[in-house]
Amino acid sequence: MKKHQWTGMLLGLCLGVMPALASQSKIPRLEFSDQRLENGLRVIIALDRTAPVFSIAVTYNVGSRNERPGRTGFAHLFEHMMFQGSENVGKGEHFILVLNNGGGMNGSTSEDRTNYFEQLPKNQLDLALFLEADRMRSLAVNQTNLENQRRTVQEERRLGIDNQPYGKSELEIDNLSYDNFAYKHSVIGSMVDLEAANVDDVKDFFRIYYAPNNAVLTLVGDLEPRETLEKVKKYFGSIPSQPPPTKVDLTEPDHYGERRSTIEDPLARLPQILISYHIPPGNTPESYALQVLGNILGTGQSSRLYQHLVKDKQLATSIRVMPDSRIGPSLFYITAMPRPGVKPEDLEKAIYEEIEAVKKDGVTAQEMEKARTQFLRNQIQSRQSTLFTAIRLGQYAVYFDDPNLINTIFDRYSAVSAEQVKQAAQKFLVTTGRTVVTTVPATVPGKSAAGR
């Protein structure tokens, strides 16, 4: 998925000049309208006439952070229920109507939001608006469909977690890192809690969180702005608003020491190290500094961890660095696979030495420039797809109340100085905020030893 907006602005290669490209590429500015209907629904519309298509995303301000103990995994199970029919759309008919008319669609759930999206040929605008409005207004819930989706989601968990090497470690890192329940538990949830979810839970969740005033509707593509807004009003305008949901306290208590655990994984054949550090919420100056640091440490083959630990010292076969960006307290993840024969603790130590080097000597101007250039390229590329643009606008609106971040995020990222990167490393990549989950293969009776 990628996306964008109108073009023709500053193209390097224009008319008959020479190959040595002229001006510096810039991110095309995305113009969009942004308003609220009387019922509180936030509507954002952006035009892009490159192809005769449009994309729609409905982003609800609810995610696994809103779940209560005993109902982990519910926000996501609920997402599945949104495809099970509403007053005027039959069970599964959503898939059929979108796909059979040439579109694509999906939904996704994270800690902080749930979104639903479609991409269709431009003549199917009414269809998309009807489908999204009907389920926002009148979700149909029954026991049989809940059972069915409970099974489906349990299979999704088995597929993604329980039947995969390192699956349990992925859940354990968050579980161990956080004390606040909101982010401590997984999005996919526990099997026991999924089993406990009932029809009343679904109805309550729908009433509380799936109201127009808790949602953002974004439309991007080959659209007539005025007509589109009129249609949005027609389909969504009469859906009643609800009292705003209670805000979840995401505050994470202070941490006073490193946390560690070791998981014996019968499905893994090689060890793995997963490290997390507590970092500030997304869209803060410190978060951007840590994004830059993440790039310098782990993005591309020229990154420090790849060059030093994978290539030079050959301690790892792969290393990934992923600073995340949530509404609340976030984590800076590092995942590394030790090369066979290398002790996980030696690799772990070497990773810390790289982090200490940043704290002591900082990063170079060249590394800063490289991070900015890579970010610029990714931002430009990401405008290719109307769908991705619609999703991002919705996410920025829900997370940070700032859809215009799509135009300003590069400036914020570029504003980070080398000194800020160094300071962020010193302040946040510290032992007291660290959690480490080491996975080691467990021998299972009956499993062949040949591969070891």
Partner: protein
């Protein structure tokens, strides 16, 4: 971690949208209540199908024989290059699986002008991407590069350097070898890999497409000389096709291509001899016993067609109805009606040799039996029952209507035209494609199903915990059992 969970996971190969209509109703499962798909037909649907024409690339040929396709797309200041070398893993010697892949992946590890570290630094400093690959089972190797159009010259400089001047340094190969050996070990933990490995073995037997991975033995043996020889023999302009898409102007970009690829020496290429496809084996079930599995990964399939086979489009329409996405029969039956799985799909591959048609799903252990029953029932149904007109029409329309969406994806557009060139499809292939799709009638679908969903030769591969699922599998045919190392147990 792993932030987001999706409602359905779409395999790339499926390219999204799909068919079906009517209620998918298999024979009832084991006492599970059926939660049936229901159509109310109240949503406003535009009956018009947007007919769009794919923009065409301009083509030229350099003096050394390199064909260049240029597709101008001015939405964003970006550019992407794709070089197809018309020899791939299919040409790997039997005793050296992974040769084409290693050759491709080692291109970035050193040239006569730059070391591996210098290449990495230069590529990253301009925010570009540069990579090469040779997928197992494919007749081509690919080198891909992309970035901002202001860097087009530097990107082509780097790309041509790795294509024309790689040195395959011994020291880098040693490092690569160790990383690969670890990866070969790691992938045996993944049920998905084990399924693919066994499926292609049982389907293709001695044919090179049976190979889906290097082996520890081949990775230990492979030498810089092997790579140099493969490169010298096949990475030549006559044997390649370069595609360009992005914010470029034809004459200018061709002159830059000429500047960097013009000096590529042309030599005669002897196409590698690829053996003959074996006759299809009798239907059977192959179990890969993976203790501790909580799901069974099921694959079922047969030989499909070459890319230029006239049956390609009928097969595509048939597949779309049967398993090509979340509105197709397999998904609606196994997931929406039965709750057996998170996803159930079918797809097919095609190349210069007949590819494979494959249905695939992952189900919890105790519904392995029920899932096998539903799969077989759906296979029989599409073979024996005429597809209802409405369902067929929706399937065809979905394919045609989806064309509009592809206009948003320049890389995919380019690849579509490179496909026409490489497989020697008619020049107007994509112009006629919508009509060709619409022409497919119910008899043609049924004929495709009878021919390609071939129950007499259908190969089932199941990866799962043998002691929990073996007895259930035996109901559906003779079962051969292997362990995860590939050793036959029974």
């Amino acid at each position: 971690m792993k932030r987001s969970i999706l409602i359905v996971l779409l395999n790339l190969g499926l390219i999204g949208g799909l068919a079906v209509a009517a209620l998918a109703q298999g024979p009832g499962g084991k006492g599970e209540s059926l939660s049936t798909v229901q159509r109310l037909n109240r949503a406003p649907v535009s009956k018009e199908i947007l007919r769009v024409k794919l923009p065409r690339p301009r083509e030229t040929k350099l003096a050394n024989g390199l064909t260049v396709l240029v597709l101008e797309q001015h939405k964003l200041p970006t550019v992407a290059f794709a070089l197809w070398v018309k020899t791939g893993a299919l040409a790997d010697p039997k005793d050296l699986p992974g040769l084409a892949k290693s050759t491709a992946e080692m291109l970035r590890e050193g040239t006569t002008h730059r070391t591996s570290a210098q290449l990495a630094a230069e590529v990253d400093s301009i925010g570009a991407s540069l990579g090469a690959s040779a997928d197992f089972g494919s007749s081509i190797s690919t080198v891909a590069a992309s970035g901002l159009v202001q860097n087009a010259d530097r990107i082509l400089d780097l790309m041509s350097d790795v294509v024309l001047n790689p040195t395959f340094p011994g020291e880098e190969l040693e490092k690569y070898r160790k990383r690969q050996l670890a990866q070969l070990e790691e992938q045996r933990a993944e049920p998905d890999f084990l399924g693919r490995e066994k499926f292609f073995q049982v389907l293709y037997q001695d044919f090179p497409a049976s190979v889906v991975s290097a082996t520890p033995e081949s990775m230990k043996r492979i030498s810089p000389e092997n790579l140099k020889e493969f490169h010298a023999r096949y990475y030549v302009p006559d044997n390649a096709l370069l595609g360009v898409v992005g914010d470029v102007q034809f004459d200018q970009i061709v002159s830059i291509v000429q500047k960097y690829f013009g000096g590529w020496k042309s030599t005669a290429v002897t196409p590698p001899v690829v053996g003959k496809l074996p006759p299809p084996a009798p239907a059977k079930i192959t179990l890969v016993d993976r203790p501790s599995s909580v799901q069974t990964n099921i694959l079922a399939g047969d030989f499909a067609v070459r890319r230029n086979d006239p049956d390609y489009i009928p097969l595509m329409v048939m597949n779309r109805i049967l398993g090509g996405g979340p509105s197709a029969r397999l998904f609606l039956n196994l997931r929406e009606n039965h709750g057996y799985t998170y996803g159930a799909y079918s797809f097919f591959t095609s190349d210069t040799y007949p590819g494979a048609w494959i249905a695939t799903t992952e189900v919890r252990n105790d519904v392995t039996d029920g899932s096998m029953q539903e799969l077989v029932a759906e296979f029989k149904r599409i073979r024996t029952e005429k597809v209802p007109d409405a369902e067929l029409e929706e399937a065809r329309n979905s394919i045609v209507a989806r064309f509009a969406l592809s206009l948003e994806q320049p890389a995919q557009l380019l690849s579509s035209w490179m496909t026409v060139n490489y497989y020697k499809l008619p020049e107007d292939y994509w112009d006629r494609y919508p009509e060709d799709v619409v022409k497919v009638g119910p008899e043609v679908v049924q004929r495709a199903a009878t021919k390609y969903v071939d129950l007499d030769h259908l190969q089932f591969v199941c990866v799962g915990d043998g002691k929990q699922i073996k007895d259930a599998l035996k109901k559906y045919g003779p079962v051969e059992v292997y362990n995860t190392e590939g050793k036959r147990l029974e």
